[in-house]
Each structure stands twice: as structure tokens, then as C-alpha cells.
């Protein structure tokens, strides 16, 4: 959850999360609430999205944003870490097995 804690440390990012808590908004609609540049708003959206606190959906050419409830962000974070650890374990097991197979076929 480190990423989420860092993401919400910035006051504007907390304001963005409040804006999209109940309504799905485009980046432009979000930016209209602030006097900072669009790229700066995009940057904040990226940080929030990467922390699992914001979901992004495409609607034609627009990208719409909505806050992920904290429980869902937690679930995603947990599953990402869970599967990452399992996949690394699977990779090691498969590569070890492959080496044994090659060794056996070379004898």
C-alpha cells in the first residue's frame, strides 16, 4: 500500500479522488476544477491509477476516470502481489525442470 499512501499525500490528488468518487469524469472535466496545466493533471491521474486508487475506462476517444473504492484497491494490490510471487516461483520451477530435461536428453 505504499504507493497508495504516497499518492494520497498530495492535496490535489486527494481533491481529484473526491471529484470522481461518485461521478465518472474525463481528464478535461477534472482539469476544469484546477488552475494547473493539463499535463500536471494527467501526471496526478497516472500516479493515482498506478496506486490502484483510480480506474480508467475508454469511451471512444475519451478516457473516463472514477475512484476505486479502497477495498477494491486493496484487493487488486493483494492479487497483484500474490500472483507476481506465484509467477516467479512457477518460472523458477519450469526453468529448473527444462534444464533437467535438456540434461537428460544430452546424455
Amino acid at each position: 500500500m505504499d504507493a497508495a499512501l504516497k499518492a494520497i499525500a498530495e492535496p490535489r490528488r486527494r481533491q481529484i479522488l473526491t471529484l470522481v468518487r461518485d461521478d465518472e469524469l474525463s481528464a478535461g472535466e477534472i482539469a476544469a476544477h484546477f488552475d494547473i496545466t493539463r499535463p500536471a493533471v494527467s501526471q496526478h491521474l497516472t500516479v493515482l491509477r498506478e496506486a490502484g486508487l483510480l480506474s480508467e475506462r475508454r469511451d471512444g476517444t475519451r478516457r473516463l476516470y472514477r475512484a476505486e473504492p479502497a477495498a477494491l484497491a486493496e484487493l487488486r494490490q493483494f492479487l497483484e502481489e500474490f500472483w507476481d510471487a506465484r509467477l516467479v516461483a512457477l518460472k523458477h520451477a519450469a526453468e529448473q525442470k527444462e534444464r533437467k530435461k535438456k540434461h537428460a536428453s544430452h546424455r
Partner: protein, 155 residues
Amino acid sequence: MQATAEPSVFVEREIFIAARPETVWELLADARQMIRWMGLTAVLDPHPGGTYRVEVIPGHVASGEIVEIDAPRRLVHTWGWEQGDSVVPPGSSTVIWELVPREDGTLLRLTHRDLPSAAAAASHTHGWEHYLGRLTQLGAGADPGPDPWITGDRV
């Protein structure tokens, strides 16, 4: 305009493995081999409708059923936690494994989808105590240590 669909969670992962798809497949679809990388015990009946059941750590069992099985390319099974109050009950979500052959190995893609919507999460708060407890410890500056759910440590 409001969103028509509830935002739901999905997880996508990809990893390159320096082993043939056939080798990776044996570890995915053979219960005896699966426990080399996940779980203490596993049951996997390799046909559509067959049981998929893994004791991930003692007392915590993930289960579902096989939906699609196409060796050594694609395995789809449902997934959930058997423990009561889980926000992801058995069979409720779907895990898709795709093996793409590469010149020197296999690209393995994992998609875990059909996870709960915001409304489901809001109505199942109990299951989050494990994680929220850890979050609270982190917030207080304490290190809760490696999560046995994630490391798969035999606790």
C-alpha cells in the same frame, strides 16, 4: 452520463519463462507438479467442469472449476476463497492462463477477472480484516513482515 457498468477489478500479468510451453503446462495443469510453485495440496481434474482446489496456505483454500483446457496453450478456471465471508467466494472469479511459444521459451499471460464490483466489495467488509490489519500496521510505521498469503510460507 453515469457509467453503465460497475467498475470491477481485474489483474493482468505477463512473465517470460525460459522453458518450452509443454514444460510450463505440466506445472500448471498437473496437481502434483503445481505444488512446486503454489500451495501445500492441490486437486485438478483436467477436463471442463473438473475440480480445481488448492490449499494455498494452511487453512486457506482457493477453489473453483476448470472451464477450458487446451494443452499446452490455454487453461481457464474459476477461482475463489472457501473461507466464509470472502469477498471472492469459490467459483466467483475467473483465472485465464495463456502460453505463447517464443523462440527460446514461453510467454505466460495471466488474467484474473470477474472480481467483485464496488457494490460487492462494500457489502463484504469482513473479509478485509486480514489486509486492513496489515495496512494499519504499515500506516503506524511498523513492518508487518512478509505476508504469508503472498510469499506462500508454510506458517
